[in-house]
């Protein structure tokens, strides 16, 4: 009995010492970006026709600082395209998912850059803090600050709101939606979400089958299902019907249904899983629907 009481006292002392927030992030650190030469885990491979010339690949660092931080964090960014064209052309800000780093998403960036024609669009990518070569620890506020740092850089190079397209994949849909909905350095003209999640609460309720509050498990306030209600820009949603990670009906469809802006476009892709939309559709079909939306309006 004494042992049980001692155990309970110990538990009380340590009550709430752990949290699950960090489970959202799944970064890995690297010492250099290899891009086309990367041999690690990628969702698909592209042939040489999609290669980006070295002269159009710019790797650099940015200083990212959220409002609650006293100092900046150095993060890594890649801009695909000619920097001189930023002042006159459309740029896609690509927010990657929760796994690994920019090398893993490089082929996705190449597809977007080659949408429409060879090296048609400028694409901006970053590694959130804690990912790849970026310094610091992953955090929710860090996600928003890091993407905002990229937007500041684009703005300083002449990009206007009317030529900015925000694209988010999986976890990257959180900063993409947040920045489209709220006041940050730039206000994107259009929002594109690939396999978005609605909220951590939905993940929990899907997994448990019960109506469990999200607060039991996380203090993350990411909620695309609510945030999308404040998005008025044209909105593009694409999601695999066979997504076995973020259920299309409980996540993506909720986000799309809650959108009430000027124009919404939904693409439910039969047979596609969380990471296989591009390969299931075929690269050209995928790029065609992307281009169709970007050229709209």
């Amino acid at each position: 009995m004494k042992k049980i009481i001692l155990l309970l006292i110990t538990v009380t002392i340590f009550m709430g010492c752990f949290d699950l927030d960090n489970n959202l992030y799944n970064p890995s650190k690297i010492s250099e970006y290899k891009l086309d030469n990367y041999t690690g885990d990628t969702d698909f491979h592209l042939d040489l026709s999609y290669r980006i010339p070295d002269s159009l690949v710019h790797i650099f660092t940015l200083a990212s600082q959220s409002s609650d931080e006293s100092s900046a964090t150095t993060i890594y960014a890649i801009y695909i395209g000619s920097i001189t064209r930023i002042a006159t052309d459309t740029v896609i800000m690509y927010c990657h998912g929760n796994k690994d780093h920019m090398d893993s998403y490089w082929t996705r960036g190449e597809l977007l850059a080659n949408t429409g024609s060879k090296n048609r669009f400028g694409v901006m990518m970053i590694d959130y803090r804690g990912y790849g070569k970026s310094e610091g620890e992953s955090s929710e506020n860090g996600l928003y600050a890091d993407v905002d740092a990229a937007l500041k850089w684009l703005k300083s190079n002449g990009l206007s709101d009317s030529r900015l397209v925000m694209y988010g994949f999986s976890m990257g849909t959180a900063p993409a939606t947040k920045i489209a909905a709220e006041n940050y350095s730039m206000k994107p003209k259009k929002l594109m979400l690939e396999a978005p999640f609605a909220s951590a609460e939905t993940m929990i309720q899907d997994a448990s089958g019960m109506d469990l509050p999200g607060d039991f498990f996380t203090t993350l306030s990411i909620n695309n299902g609510e945030e999308i209600k404040s998005v008025s820009q044209p909105f593009f949603w694409i999601h695999g019907e066979a997504d076995d990670f973020l259920n299309i009906d409980t996540h993506g469809q909720v986000v799309f249904d809650n959108y009430s802006g000027s124009y919404g476009e939904a693409h439910r892709i039969p047979g596609a899983n969380h990471k296989t939309i591009q390969t299931t559709m075929g690269f050209q079909s995928y790029m065609d629907v992307i281009e169709g939306f970007i050229r709209l309006h």
Binding site: I4, G209, D211, L212, P213, F216, D244, F245
Partner: protein, 252 residues
């Protein structure tokens, strides 16, 4: 001598490997971040945080304290592990056929949730040679984090059990049931599942003062486990989850 040297090397290697393993566990599991695949631990709340509390009531005025460990089997990296749920339980024999109990979920507490279970086990039938004894256990689970996050789950377990051998070891078959009372869930969507049933089989080795219990249970085998952030490992394929538990009970 060469054999001695070989033995010493083996011992050294074992020691190094054990240290590496402990370091790996320390670094990658509970003490650092509990890096279960995205929110996998959430599933634990699907009732099976603990095995059956009491299958057979205590003697009148007898007390018992119990610790149990285990949960649903999930995929963790390339391995299969049970969700690490630790529950402490206290029971008191109100009379020889009725035991009241209260338990606290220690793992939930470590994550900042106050989760308790209160209930009673009533024996309805006595064992008649091969015909099993039967008990029923109504209880409720209360989980509280803040005023916006509190839940109440009624439960009802029914068990058939057989005692055998000189030490009155016990084998049992039962069904635990959880009831979700909410009609809506996130974004105002309809809460479709209100009844979660869990067939279980367990065994207790009984000593003079204590008993050691193992239990397996199928959790909500009627529900699909596809398209979730959690990858359950279960013999039932794309349905439900499968939980394994161990527990030790000390009577006094």
């Amino acid at each position: 001598m060469p054999q001695m040297r070989r033995l010493t090397n083996i011992r050294k290697n074992l020691s190094v490997n054990l240290r590496s393993l402990l370091f790996y566990l320390f670094r990658n599991t509970v003490f650092l971040k509990i890096r279960l695949p995205a929110l996998a631990i959430t599933c634990c709340m699907l009732s099976s945080c603990a095995p059956m509390r009491f299958v057979k009531p205590l003697e009148k005025n007898q007390q018992a304290a119990n610790l149990s460990f285990g949960g649903e089997l999930i995929k963790y990296n390339s391995s299969t592990i049970p969700v690490p749920f630790l529950t402490a339980n206290y029971g008191y024999g109100i009379d020889s056929a009725l035991t009241g109990f209260a338990s606290v979920n220690i793992t939930s507490a470590l994550f900042g949730n106050f989760q308790m279970n209160f209930g009673a086990t009533k024996q309805l039938l006595k064992q008649n040679i091969y015909f099993p004894a039967v008990s029923i256990t109504p209880s409720f689970d209360f989980i509280y984090r803040n005023k916006n996050a509190a839940k109440f789950y009624p439960q009802l377990a029914i068990n058939a059990f057989w005692e055998y051998g000189k030490k009155n070891n016990l084998v049992y078959l039962g069904i635990d049931n959880w009831f979700e009372l909410a009609s809506k869930k996130a974004y105002g969507k309809t809460q479709e599942n209100h009844w979660f049933f869990m067939p279980a089989i367990g065994h207790s080795f009984c000593g003079k003062k204590g008993s050691f219990t193992t239990e397996m249970r199928a959790i909500a085998p009627n529900l699909s486990n596809e398209k979730l952030v959690v990858e359950y490992r279960t013999p039932f394929g794309t349905n439900g989850a499968f939980g394994v538990y161990i527990g030790y009970t000390r009577k006094f």
